[in-house]
C-alpha cells in the first residue's frame, strides 16, 4: 500500500517535471541564450571585423586561449552609459512616454472591457474576436495605415475639412500626438483582454447586494468592481508598459525626428556607429531597469496576497 503511494507520487513528480520542462526549455532557448549572447557582446570592444567586435569567444582556442580572451572583456561600455547624459535622457524620456501612453490606454480600454463584460452573453465571443481581429494584419501595415489617416492630405483632415470643422489641415503626423495615437491603437488589445477576463468573472451578486443595500451605482463601481478588476488592470499595464518603453517602429514612422526614445538611441549605436558592444550594453541596462522594479513589485504583490488569505 505504502509502496504504491510512493510510486504514484514519483510518477506525479516526474509528470510535473515534464510539464515544467517544456516552458523551461522554451525560456532557455528563446530568452536566456540570446540574453547571455547580448550580455557577452556588451563586455567586448568594437572592431572592424566579422563579427564587428572583439574578442570573439569560442572553444577553438582551447581553455588557455579562452581565458586569455576573457581578460580582454571590459566594462567600458557601461561606464560610457553612466558618463554620457544622452543615454539617461533617452531612458527617462522613454519611461515618460510609456507611462503617459499606459494611462491613455487604461482610460480607453477600461470602458471597452467593461462594456464587453456586461454585454449579453451570446455577443461576448464576437466582441472578443473583434478585439483580436487586427492581429490578423501585420502590425507594420497597420501603423503605415495611420500615416494615410493622419497626414495633411490624409483621411482625417479631408473629412474634417469637408465637414467644415477646420479650414487648415491639422498637423498631427510627425508630432508626439501621432506617436500616442499609434501606441494607444497598437497596444489597446493587450489591455482590453486581461481586463475583460477579470471583469467577466466578476460575481454579479455582489453588485446586486450593494444595490439592495442602497449603494448608488457609481459607488458600487469604485468599491466593488474596480478593486476586483485590479489584477487584470495590473497585468494589462505590464503588458503594455514594458514593450512601449522599448518601442521603436511607431515613433520612427509616425513621430517627428525630435521624439527621443531609447530604442532609437540603440539603433544609432548599432547601425550608424556600428558599435554592437555599446548597443548591447544599452539593451542590457534597459532590461535591468524594467525587470528589477517589476520583480520587486510582483514579490510584494504576492506577499500581500498571502497575508490577506
Amino acid at each position: 500500500m505504502a509502496a504504491n503511494v510512493t510510486s504514484a507520487n514519483a510518477r506525479a513528480s516526474r509528470l510535473r517535471w515534464l510539464v515544467i520542462a517544456v516552458p523551461l526549455a522554451w525560456m532557455l532557448i528563446f530568452f536566456l541564450i540570446p540574453f547571455f549572447n547580448v550580455l557577452k557582446i556588451s563586455f567586448s570592444t568594437r572592431a572592424r571585423a566579422m563579427p564587428p567586435y572583439k574578442p570573439v569567444l569560442s572553444m577553438v582556442d582551447g581553455i588557455a586561449g579562452l581565458f586569455d580572451k576573457l581578460q580582454q572583456l571590459t566594462i567600458a561600455n557601461y561606464l560610457t552609459l553612466v558618463a554620457d547624459s544622452k543615454y539617461w535622457l533617452a531612458y527617462v524620456s522613454s519611461v515618460q512616454i510609456a507611462l503617459f501612453s499606459t494611462v491613455l490606454i487604461v482610460l480607453v480600454a477600461y470602458p471597452i472591457a467593461y462594456g464587453m463584460a456586461r454585454a449579453p452573453r451570446q455577443w461576448r465571443t464576437t466582441l472578443v474576436m473583434l478585439v483580436i481581429l487586427p492581429f490578423w494584419t501585420s502590425f507594420l501595415i497597420r501603423v503605415y495605415a495611420w500615416i494615410g489617416i493622419l497626414s495633411d492630405e490624409g483621411l482625417l483632415n479631408q473629412v474634417l475639412m469637408q465637414l467644415g470643422l477646420i479650414d487648415q489641415p491639422l498637423r498631427i503626423l510627425t508630432t508626439n500626438w501621432a506617436v500616442y495615437i499609434g501606441i494607444v491603437y497598437s497596444y489597446l488589445p493587450f489591455m482590453i483582454l486581461p481586463l475583460y477576463a477579470t471583469l467577466e468573472k466578476l460575481d454579479e451578486t455582489l453588485l446586486e447586494a450593494a444595490e439592495d443595500l442602497g449603494c448608488p451605482p457609481m459607488k458600487a463601481f469604485w468599491t466593488i468592481t474596480f478593486p476586483l478588476s485590479l489584477p487584470g488592470l495590473i497585468a494589462g499595464c505590464f503588458l503594455v508598459f514594458i514593450p512601449i518603453t522599448g518601442e521603436f517602429v511607431i515613433p520612427d514612422l509616425l513621430g517627428g525626428s525630435g521624439t527621443l526614445m531609447i530604442g532609437k538611441t540603440l539603433w544609432y549605436e548599432f547601425f550608424n556607429n556600428r558599435n554592437w558592444p555599446l548597443a548591447s550594453a544599452v539593451a542590457v541596462v534597459l532590461l535591468l531597469l524594467l525587470v528589477v522594479p517589476i520583480v520587486i513589485f510582483q514579490n510584494q504583490q504576492q506577499k500581500q496576497a498571502e497575508k490577506s488569505r
Binding site: R46, A49, M50, K86, I147, E153, L260, F271, N272, R274
Partner: protein
C-alpha cells in the same frame, strides 16, 4: 539608395526561380539586392542564357545587408552594398576578390565611375558598379510656385538659407535621416570640404543645420512617400527616391528633381561576392551577364538610375540618357563629390552631433 531605415522588417522577400534541390545547387545563384532595383525579365533571361537559376531576395535598408554580412554565412553569392558601407565591409573581410578574367564585360566600364569607386575599393579589386546616382533636391512645383515664384530651386539655399526655408515650413521640408549624406551637403554649402573629418568643421555644419531645424518637418529614411503624398514640398534625398515619387504622385502633382548647383554627393551601389559565397562561379557569371551593355541598359531603363557601363549608353532610352537629372552633363559631373568612411571616433562624433540636430538643441 536608402541607407537608413527603421523599416527593415518590411523587406519583402521575392524568390524568383524555384525550390532548391541538392543536385541543382551548383546551378543556382543567390542574389541579394535593393528592392525595386531590377527589371525581373533580366533574371529570367539570365537563366535562359546560362541554365543557372536565380534565387533573388531583396532588402530595403543598408543595415539589413550590413548585419547579415557582419555575421557571415548569409548564403548569398552576390550582394549590392553602397559605397561607404561597402568599404567598411571590405575592411572587415566580408568579400572576396574578383577573378576579372571571368568578367570580360568589364571592358565596358566607365572610367570616371570606376575611378570614384576606387575611393572605396582601392584598385577596383572587389566591386563591379551596378547603379549610381546623386543626392539632391526634390520639390512639388505647384506648392513652391505658390509660396515663392522666384525660389532658388537649383540651389541648397532652398533648405540651408533660413529665410527661404521658412517659406516652405508649412508645406513640409523633409531631409534624409542620414548624417553621412546631410553633413557633407552642409559642409559643401559652407565652402568647407564635404569629406571633412575635422570636428570643428562638423560643428559648423551642425550649427547651420540647427539654424534651419525649426523649418524641417522630419528627417526620414525614405522620401518617396512624403513627396508623393503631399507631406513634403521640399525634400533632400536620393535622386532615385525623388524620381520614384515623381512617378507615383497623383495626377496633377508635378515633382521635380534638381541637382544643386553647389554640387552633390555621388553614391554608387556595386555588386560584390561574399567571402563565403556558396557558388562564386555562378556569381561571376551573373555579374558578367548584368554588365552586358544591352542588359544593364534595360535595367537602367527600368529603375531610371545611371549605370557604370559606358557602352550601355547606346541602348539606354534617349529620354533617360538626355535627362540631366539622371545622366548629369559633364560640367555638373565635375561638381559631384564622394565621401569616405569615418574613423570610429569621427563617426561617434558625427552621430552625436546628428542627434543634437534631430532634437533641435
Amino acid at each position: 539608395m536608402k541607407k537608413f531605415s527603421g523599416r527593415t522588417m518590411l523587406a519583402a522577400v521575392i524568390v524568383a526561380g524555384g525550390a532548391a534541390s541538392a543536385a541543382a545547387a551548383d546551378k543556382e545563384v543567390h542574389v541579394y539586392n535593393w528592392s525595386n532595383y531590377i527589371d525581373d525579365s533580366i533574371l529570367a533571361d539570365f537563366t535562359k542564357a546560362t541554365g543557372i537559376k536565380v534565387v533573388y531576395d531583396v532588402y530595403d535598408s543598408m543595415e539589413t545587408l550590413e548585419a547579415k554580412m557582419f555575421t557571415g554565412r548569409s548564403g548569398y553569392d552576390v550582394v549590392v552594398p553602397t559605397d561607404r558601407n561597402m568599404q567598411v565591409l571590405i575592411e572587415a573581410g566580408a568579400f572576396q576578390k574578383l577573378d576579372k578574367s571571368k568578367i570580360p564585360n568589364l571592358q565596358y566600364a566607365w572610367p570616371d565611375i570606376y575611378k570614384r569607386l576606387a575611393t572605396y575599393d582601392p584598385g577596383n579589386e572587389y566591386a563591379v558598379n551596378y547603379m549610381w546616382g546623386t543626392t539632391g533636391l526634390g520639390y512639388d512645383k505647384a506648392k513652391i510656385d505658390a509660396r515663392m515664384p522666384d525660389a532658388p530651386v537649383n540651389s541648397m539655399d532652398m533648405i540651408f538659407k533660413p529665410e527661404v526655408a521658412a517659406k516652405f515650413a508649412d508645406c513640409g521640408i523633409y531631409m534624409l535621416n542620414s548624417p553621412e549624406d546631410v553633413m557633407p551637403a552642409a559642409l559643401n554649402y559652407l565652402g568647407l570640404p564635404p569629406d571633412s573629418k575635422s570636428k570643428e568643421d562638423l560643428q559648423k555644419a551642425t550649427d547651420l543645420l540647427l539654424k534651419i531645424r525649426p523649418y524641417v518637418r522630419k528627417f526620414d529614411s525614405s522620401l518617396i512617400n512624403p513627396l508623393a503624398t503631399g507631406e513634403a514640398c521640399v525634400a533632400f534625398g536620393f535622386s532615385g527616391d525623388i524620381l520614384q515619387a515623381r512617378d507615383t504622385a497623383k495626377s496633377g502633382v508635378e515633382i521635380v528633381y534638381s541637382i544643386p548647383k553647389e554640387g552633390a554627393l555621388l553614391w554608387m551601389d556595386s555588386m560584390v561576392i561574399p567571402k563565403d559565397a556558396p557558388n562564386p562561379e555562378a556569381a561571376l557569371a551573373f555579374i558578367n551577364y548584368i554588365q552586358t551593355p544591352e542588359v544593364i541598359a534595360k535595367a537602367t531603363n527600368f529603375v531610371k538610375y545611371p549605370n557604370g557601363n559606358l557602352e550601355s549608353q547606346k541602348y539606354v532610352d534617349p529620354a533617360i540618357l538626355k535627362d540631366p537629372t539622371i545622366y548629369p552633363p559633364a560640367d555638373t559631373m565635375a561638381h559631384l563629390y564622394t565621401t569616405t568612411p569615418n574613423s570610429d571616433e569621427i563617426q561617434d562624433a558625427m552621430t552625436a552631433l546628428w542627434q543634437q540636430v534631430l532634437a533641435g538643441k
